[in-house]
Every structure is written in C-alpha cells, then in structure tokens.
C-alpha cells in the first residue's frame, strides 16, 4: 500500500525489488480516483467532509496553542512545588483531554459521513472493496509505506483495510507506521511557521498497541531540548514514543515490543533511552 505517495503511488519499483519482486500494489489512491470518477456524488461528499475536518482542525489548533502556551508558562514558574505541581498536572491534563476530544470529534464526523452516505451502497466503492478483499485473501504479509499520512489513512479507512488486514503480518514504515498505530500524531518541532506543537490528528487503524511511532523523529524533533522532549513524552504517555529513524526497526509479537537493532524512545524526563527497557507486556 503506497497510497501515501499519492500520484506517485505506482512508482514502487524499489519497494517491489526489496520484496523480491513478490509484491502486489493495491493502488488504493488510484482506486479512489476511479470511484470518484464513477460516483461524483460520493466524491463531492468526500470533499465536503474534508472541508469539515479542516475547520475542526483549525478550531482544535486555536485551543491547543493556548493550552500548550499555558502549560509551558506554568512549567516555567518558579515557586513552591506543592502549589505548582498540581497546576502543571492540570495544565497537562487539559491538553490530554483536548487531544482525546479531537480524536473523538473526528470519529463522530467520519461516522456521520459513513451513515449519511451509506458507503456500502455505493456500487463503485463496493466493487473496489470486494476486489481488494479478494486480492488480500492469499496474502501473507502487508506492507504499508509512508508519504502523506492523512491521504494514506483516508484510503485505508475508505476501503475497510482494518478488517482485511487483521491476522496478517504487517510491515509498516514512516507514515504507514503512523496510520496503523492507535493515534496519528502530527509533529515537527521546527516548521516554517508556528511553535510546532504536535497535533492529535485522528485515530489510526489501531493494528498494534502501546506505541507512538515518530518517523524521522531525530530530524523532526528537537531531541536535544530536554524540556520539550519530556513534555512530548508526558503528553502522549502511556504510549511509548519511539524515534523511527532510518534503519530503526521495532517488532510486536503479541506480547511486547522489542527492537531489532538500536531504537530510542522519548522518556518523560526528556532523555532518550534504548527501547529494550520497554520489553514489557502492553495491555
């Protein structure tokens, strides 16, 4: 699945070679283009929901910016810990509640869209879903590549991949790992604009528990800023925030996470620690 590459979805020669030429690209991006051509009503509805979600995201960011600024400001206050400690916790709790509400609101809007438009009754979409299900029947492992995480997640959801991938070996990297995780968190500490507050974007497919994958984390996050790194880890705890830098591999085998080679996780105190410390069962 390379839908995150959008129009370049089919340029998968390198990936196919890495899989010994035994891969089959589901071409989810192209399939949705085909559905849109055949079903303009669904395409228009899809655009409408994107506009609604953009508006929701703007509102979320207005609130998030203020809450994050407050948290940072309170963290910087000097004084009696017994007074400030609970205030810092409350500031963090406010952000976590907002994140949770955002994910829930996105789900509500998507569910409402699915109900109102009775997606299963759209023949073009149903045909593509059936075809994908057929293709996946004899597949042993699924690979989800990176790219535009919103586009990728959108296509995975539209074609009902969550159910179809259950029980298969999954290999996911970059945005693919984010899309399969429980929560998609957008992050970049040095964007051209703004303070770079990480955003709770949407629930992922939740194909594995307990981990928040951070693709190119060492490049996108200012991990040398201990305060900032610690805030990130505390905000998204108990998920393990793992830097998925080039070459990093982590595996879930149903009991816990282990790294294949070195992998670093963000600690609540802002330090980076090897993931091996997390070889524990994740509920």
């Amino acid at each position: 699945m390379t839908a995150g590459w959008q129009e370049r979805e089919g340029e998968d020669e390198e990936l196919d070679a890495a899989l010994d030429g035994r891969s089959l690209n589901l071409r989810l991006y192209e399939r949705f283009d085909r559905v849109s051509d055949e079903d303009p009503e669904l395409a228009a509805a899809h655009r409408e929901i994107q506009d609604r979600l953009k508006l929701l995201r703007r509102a979320y960011n207005v609130r998030l910016t203020r809450l994050m600024d407050a948290w940072v400001a309170i963290a910087g206050l000097a004084g009696e810990p017994s007074v400030l400690g609970p205030e810092r916790e409350a500031a963090l709790e406010g952000i976590r509640r907002l994140d949770a509400r955002q994910l829930s609101r996105v789900r509500e809007i998507r569910d409402e869209f699915a109900d109102r438009h009775r997606l299963e009754e759209h023949p073009a979409l149903a045909r593509e879903r059936d075809e994908i299900a057929g293709l996946l029947e004899d597949v042993e492992a699924a690979v989800v590549a990176g790219g535009h995480v919103a586009v990728l997640l959108n296509r995975l959801n539209l074609f009902g991949l969550r159910g179809l991938l259950a029980g298969k070996v999954l290999v996911a990297y970059s945005a693919g790992a984010m899309a399969l995780s429980p929560r998609v968190i957008l992050f970049h500490d040095s964007p051209p604009q703004g303070a770079g507050h990480a955003e709770a974007f949407e629930e992922g497919l939740g194909m594995f528990p307990g981990i928040l994958p951070l693709p190119s984390g060492s490049r996108r996050l200012r991990t040398d800023d201990q305060e900032r790194t610690g805030r990130f880890a505390r905000r998204f705890a108990p998920a393990i925030c793992v830097l998925l830098d080039t070459g990093t591999r982590v595996q879930w085998r149903g009991r816990g996470w282990r790294s294949v080679g070195p992998a670093l996780a963000l600690e609540p105190d802002g330090l980076l620690e090897p993931l091996r410390g997390y070889r524990k069962r994740v509920a």
Binding site: E7, G147, S174, L186, H188, P191, P192, Q193, S216
Partner: protein
C-alpha cells in the same frame, strides 16, 4: 568619522614608509583583504582611483543618503566605514566626482551585487545576513512550468499579458490555490520567485499552487488604486482561470502578492471586493497617508493617499490573513508600521515582519518563505517519508 582598525594600521604604515612606498603599501593592503572590509559591526568600503570626491550613496532611511569617503593621505585610496547592526543588508553605489562631473558606479572591489529594474547595486551583507538557501536553484527539485499568455480584458480593452506558473507534478484532479503576483516580471527576474516556489513546494512548506504573474502596462497609474485593475482581477482574470484550471475557488484559496505599488494594487483590489481574496502578502507597500494636510509623498500618490485615508477612517476586514513586511531601512517603514494596528483592529489575522534591509527585490525575495508558508501552509506536517 569611523575608521577601521585595519585602515588605521595602513595609514600608520603609509606614513612611516613615506610617499615613495605608499603605492606598494596600498597594493599590499588591497590584495590581502576582501571588501567591504568586515570588522563587525563596522564595514569599510574602499575605492582606489582619481577623483575630487567619493561618496557613498545608499537608501537607508534616517541616515544621510550621501556620505563622503576620506582619502588616505599620500595615496589614491578612499575609504568610508559604516556601522551596521547584525543581519543588515544594504544596497549602495559609489559616487565619483571629478572635475564637477558626478558618476554613480558599482563598487569595483565588491563582488556582491543585486539587480533591479533600474540596473544593479553593490551590496554589504552584515554579519548574520546570509542569502537564504531556499532562494537558490536546487538540482534535486522538480521545477514548475511557466507559460506566457494573454487574457482578454473588456475592462482595459484588449489583451493583458501574464505568465502562468504551474507546479511540478501538476494534476487536473487536484484543487490548487491561486496566487496573483503584481509586477510578475520583476518578481521572476529580480526576486527569483520561480525558484522560490519550486523549492518551497518541493520542501512541502507551501502547497502546489497556480500563480498568475501580472505584467502591468502602465504600472504607476494601474496600481494606484485604479478601480479598473480590481475589476480586471475579480471580474475577468480570476473567473477565467477558475473556469479553466483546477483551482480551489474559495477566498482561502486566493492570494494576492505585491511589493511597493504592487502591494497598493493588491490592497486596493481586496478592499474593493472584501473577502474575495482571503490571503494578502503585502511587501513594502507604498501606503501613503496623511493625518493632517497633504502627504509629503507628492502628486503621483494622491489616489493612494485618498484610498488609505479613507480606509484609516473606516477600517474594515477585507481579507482573512494579511502578511505585511517592510525593510527597517526604507522610508515606507513609517507607513507600514502605521497600517498594522489599523488592519489588526478589524479582526483580520495580521502578521508583520521587519527586516534590516531596504526597498529592494532581494528583501522581498527573502521574506517570501515566511509570508507564503504562513498564508498558504504546505503539507509538511502531513508527510512522513
């Protein structure tokens, strides 16, 4: 007059060596230094040659526009030291006066130049200023396409030339924002806007966008709050482009960019059709106004003064996000600083940036990343390769 420590040393050695060895000492000095001689915060310009007078001519508002060089006694070496705050970028020329005749030239000892529609200037880049790397061509970046075309206009009568930019990987299925650029030819030639767009789109800092680069026929009149220009944009150009190209067609998806009088034209068009253009990028706008009496800016800007005075009397939201930039060293800093609180009072989202630079195309180029990525943020947040 300020003097560089290096020059003071040269002066001492010339004095000690005597007239016969002065020329060799100057030769040695010139070959062992690069110019402007940087001793932050002091920058020394030197000129070697005959003349009765040498002057530094620059456009830094609040400093005398002509500053005399001093001749090193016993030599034909002239010098002038200026103090510049970190991050400054200053364009200048040398004025050589000889037998009553004055000639403005680029500094022969300075390899850094900037071009504009009037020619070229030499440039002093103070410590802390660097040409942003995103303004330079990158061989790894896929480039967009330019296409010259003519748009029929009943408003102006006849055709209006423009250049259309389509981003790399342009697809009819996508919906793109539209940016209209005043003085498009100059933005292309002197601000390298095509390279900037290619690079910022490639880096995902701005979205792929379609850009209409305008070429005004009678710039000073058409950009001076001429209602025909606003009508041309809103009633002719944008509808035609939105019919033909996959554009968003919403206020958030329409942006106007302009510098100097081009910024006035953009502001006037937005004010004439409120909330039609949801994004404005106004650089060093010639926003002349008067609190009392007449504006010192003179007759050519009278329509602008009328526009701005009227807007200042009754400020109103005309767009949604407005990015205003200006050079700290240009006289228009007064007008632009004055405009910002007026814009903010209307509830529009306004961002204001000053740079230690002047009224020139490289200043406007250097501010494009900050302005564009704020007005039209790209998918950087969303893409994880």
């Amino acid at each position: 007059m300020l003097s560089s420590p290096a020059l003071q040393e040269l002066e001492r050695s010339v004095a000690a060596a005597g007239a016969h060895a002065a020329s060799e000492a100057v030769d040695a000095f010139l070959s062992s230094h690069s110019f402007p001689l940087a001793e932050p915060p002091y920058y020394t310009l030197v000129y070697r040659g005959p003349g009765d007078e040498v002057n530094l001519r620059h456009w830094i508002y609040a400093l005398p526009t002509s500053q005399p060089f001093r001749r090193l006694p016993g030599t034909d070496l002239w010098h002038r030291t200026v103090e510049l705050p970190p991050g400054s970028r200053v364009e200048y020329k040398l004025e050589i006066v000889s037998r009553g005749h004055a000639e403005w030239i680029e500094d022969p000892l300075n390899g850094q130049h900037a071009t504009d529609p009037f020619g070229a200037n030499s440039v002093i880049c103070a410590e802390g200023y660097e040409v942003p790397e995103w303004t330079q061509p990158d061989p790894d970046v896929r480039t967009g396409q330019l296409e010259d075309r003519v748009v029929k206009s009943d408003v102006f009568g006849g055709g209006r030339p423009l250049t259309l930019y389509r981003p790399a990987r342009f697809r009819l299925r996508r919906r793109y924002p539209l940016m209209i650029v005043h003085d498009g030819q100059d933005y292309l030639k002197y601000a390298g806007i095509k390279t900037v767009l290619d690079n910022l789109i490639h880096r995902l800092e701005i979205p792929g966008m379609i850009v209409a680069l305008l070429h005004a026929e009678r710039r000073m009149s058409e950009y001076s709050a001429d209602p025909r220009h606003a009508r041309f944009l809103v009633e002719e150009l944008v509808p035609e482009l939105e019919r033909e190209l996959p554009l968003l067609g919403t206020p958030e998806g329409r942006c106007l960019l302009g510098a100097s009088m081009g910024a006035v034209a953009a502001f006037h068009a937005a004010a004439s059709y409120p909330d039609y253009f949801g994004r404005l990028l106004l650089q060093s706008g010639s926003f002349a106004f008067s609190d009392i009496g007449e504006s010192p800016r003179g007759l050519p800007l009278e329509p602008v003064v009328e526009l701005m005075n009227s807007y200042r009397e009754e400020p109103r939201a005309i767009s949604r996000q407005v990015f205003v930039s200006v050079g700290t060293y240009e006289s228009l800093v007064y007008e632009n600083r004055s405009l910002v609180p007026v814009l903010q009072s209307t509830g529009m989202d306004v961002r204001y940036v000053e740079a230690r630079d002047g009224h020139n195309w490289e200043n406007w180029r250097d501010r494009l990343r900050e302005g564009l990525s704020w007005l039209l943020p790209g998918p950087l947040w969303m893409v994880y390769e």
